[in-house]
């Protein structure tokens, strides 16, 4: 099925897949399906956020006390790094839509550097925490008051930031692939859609961190 009549003259002709009437419909469906995946991700992380809220409600003073063990400065810098990567990601999408290959490459590269920077800072924090006896599971050797509930706080911390970290690592692979893709002839401004979908994923990773940061680092009294 050909629908090249829907494509404005002068641009490269891309036929939609057979089940779609035109390219616009196909693009809209691809974006909607990515959002459907993100909706499942909201519920995936939501379960963990619910666990945090329940135990935070049951042991409010323990959670606010143990929050002081986390490094706010590094957490703030990391949030800034992730927000910056979100800006460069949206600039990459903009560049892709307008067919600016070099800007697309540069912005994806900065996004990738920010992602590595985020993981590096996170690894530094985790290493420090583990050395202080505030590690996950059996690495939790803290013996002050409320140590058992403090262990719960840190288990939630490692599970939630760890799951977020896995999402960042997956993002690094996907962005890395499209960094290479943007240098090949397969990239044209009519085929910008993969970048927009990668962008949605990356912004979602940023969104999760926007909530994780105040919950763990700033929940102080």
């Amino acid at each position: 099925m050909s629908s090249s009549t829907h494509i404005p003259s002068g641009s490269a002709v891309i036929d939609p897949h057979a089940q779609f009437g035109d390219l616009h419909q196909e693009n809209e469906m691809s974006v909607a399906c990515m959002w459907l995946f993100l909706a499942t991700e909201v519920m995936f992380f939501g379960g963990l956020f619910a666990a945090y809220v329940i135990y935070r409600t049951l042991y409010p003073h323990v959670f606010t006390e143990f929050s002081h063990h986390l490094n706010v400065t590094l957490g703030t810098i990391n949030t800034g790094v992730l927000l910056t990567s979100s800006l460069t990601m949206v600039l990459a999408v903009h560049a892709a839509q307008h067919g600016h290959r070099k800007k697309l490459f540069a912005n994806l590269l900065i996004t990738l550097v920010c992602a590595f920077g985020f993981l590096g800072i996170k690894a530094t924090e985790w290493t420090t925490d583990i050395h202080e006896g505030l590690g996950p599971g059996s690495l939790f050797t803290y013996s002050g008051p409320d140590a058992d509930k403090g262990a719960l706080f840190f288990r939630l911390y490692y599970t939630m930031t760890g799951l977020h970290g896995i999402h960042v690592i997956i993002g690094i692979f996907i962005i890395g692939y499209y960094l290479w893709w943007s240098t090949t002839p397969r990239f044209t401004k009519e085929r910008y859609l993969p970048i927009e979908i990668v962008g949605l994923y990356w912004h979602f990773v940023d969104l999760i961190w926007i909530f994780l940061f105040p919950l763990f680092y700033l929940d102080r009294i």
């Binding site: 909607a32 909706a39 909201v42 519920m43 329940i54 800006l87 979602f204 969104l207 700033l218």
Partner: protein, 99 residues
Amino acid sequence: MRTVNDSVSTSAPAPLTAYYLVYLALLVLLVATVLCANLHLGHLNIVVAMIIAGVKAGLVLWYFMHLRSSPKIVMMFMGMAVATLVIGGILSMSDYLAR
């Protein structure tokens, strides 16, 4: 080819400005939330932090993720996810708090 690209970039500078402004707002809100955490508001601290996080999330969703120009079904997907989460959260909380 280059002239075509140039004409495209000059005809659409508006969204780029919006992206930079949103980024600036996100950084200001980040500084604000860290400063508020030192205000000693008691348990209100977490409420203020969550309100600021909500505003930041809204900015990312609306401008960076183009929610404002997305198909309506996207709103429905996210609405359903959040609604499911709220229902599950209320049921779990009512269980734990009543123990």
